[in-house]
Symmetry: C2
Subunit: 245 residues, 2 copies
């Protein structure tokens, strides 16, 4: 197994960082790594906001559930699905830009942004840094969009906090590959096929919490079903002229 | 610069592969690498279909624009945004599953699937394999979904073809980082700020086509605006109970 795959397989999220800013050279290398990812039809439909301003980080952290690792970190990045450059080019050329408002284009921009983000995450970990994705910014996208002055035809998707970790950990066990990988056709599983994984996850949480948290994966998923969260997303996207048709 | 970042920065898409299937061990390592990626709230909301059957590859290739590198490749993977496991768990527990139909959940599943895919892509390249993403399967998602027997609450998103390359190439120049990376606030650019990049891309195409293709990046984007493609995506997603509200 090579160094790159070893790095990929030892990933875990880090939620406590030293108060040590990434250097400009580190940030430049992370951004360059992000940009090297594949992009659909070469549209490069994303932007990255690096939030170094502490007050701005505090404000975003308020939205995301007061996570301290958004504020105390090496750098806090927000990944933006961005069709605003394409809109700008269309306007400058007098071209029709209505095609940018489709769900397909929003999907392309989302995938582009996410491929770039994961390149950055892997590059960061290879540099000995820790990472954590922050979906919590979607608790109030309108607020985050205002704070970062995101234009129309663009939307923040998630944050990525990267810094020098204070602690180390171990990867969290994933679903057995037979439950995720299918040969030629999707093979539906029975509910009992999750039992073994439930045991694994129960043991994992029990060991990490001294027996305080005892919950299988399916329990966790069942609990999550109760909360229909962020139901304003569709409307927010439409307000940005995204995913309208 | 370490080996992982060197690998990331030397990425280019490969569109011609040897007729040599990946081994089971290679596929297992690629899937394991994919699964090691971050996942939103640990929902692991994706599946991967490995298409080894040649007739099935041919049928998917028909949808995607007859790309030969879907058929003649090491393995052809389709990444699926998959909330069907979560639906199954909800049903088994008698829980309300309506929350799964939201745009937020579809976005979570899309990001999860894409993070996993990019892990697989980087792992593959580190093994000396070549990769190419295939958005063309979205030309007819209903057909691809039928071919792969994808259940409700799940949808194919894109393909990823991975194999032993017959040729080598160089990375394609990306937008200048100043056009993509913003400090604290989104900084709108002027249309003239793309001029230098247009020159770079014109030279890039001219050199690769012996002067036959002369087109800047903004020309390419302008041309793409004319085609409002895949306008059935929203309706297809709804037919799968995804992104409905």
């Amino acid at each position: 197994m090579n160094e790159t795959i070893e790095g990929i397989l030892s990933h875990y999220s880090v939620r406590d960082f030293k108060d040590e800013a990434l250097t400009e050279a580190e940030i430049a290398l992370l951004v360059k790594s992000a940009q090297a990812a594949s992009t659909s039809s070469f549209v490069q439909a994303y932007s990255i906001i690096g939030v170094s301003d502490k007050a701005l980080r505090e404000a975003i952290s308020e939205v995301a559930g007061k996570q301290p690792y958004i504020v105390k970190t090496g750098q806090f990045f927000v990944f933006v699905a961005d069709l605003s450059r394409h809109h700008q080019i269309g306007e400058a050329r007098g071209a029709e830009t209505d095609s940018l408002t489709s769900m397909e284009r929003f999907l392309v921009a989302t995938v582009d942004a996410t491929l770039a983000a994961q390149n950055m995450a892997i590059a960061a970990e290879s540099m000995g840094l820790g990472i954590c994705y922050i979906g919590g910014i979607r608790n109030d996208l309108a607020r985050v969009s205002d704070l970062l002055q995101i234009p129309d035809y663009a939307t923040p998707l998630f944050g990525l906090t990267i810094g020098h970790p204070t602690t180390s950990s171990e990867p969290k066990p994933r679903l057995a590959s037979e439950l995720v990988y299918h040969e030629n056709h999707y093979q539906p599983k029975g509910i009992q096929d999750f039992n073994e994984y439930d045991d694994t996850i129960r043991d994992y949480y029990a060991a990490r919490t001294g027996g305080k948290r005892v919950e299988g994966w399916t329990d966790q998923i069942e609990r999550s079903l109760k909360y229909a969260t962020r139901l304003d997303l569709k409307e927010f996207l439409a307000s940005k002229n995204l995913g309208k048709k």
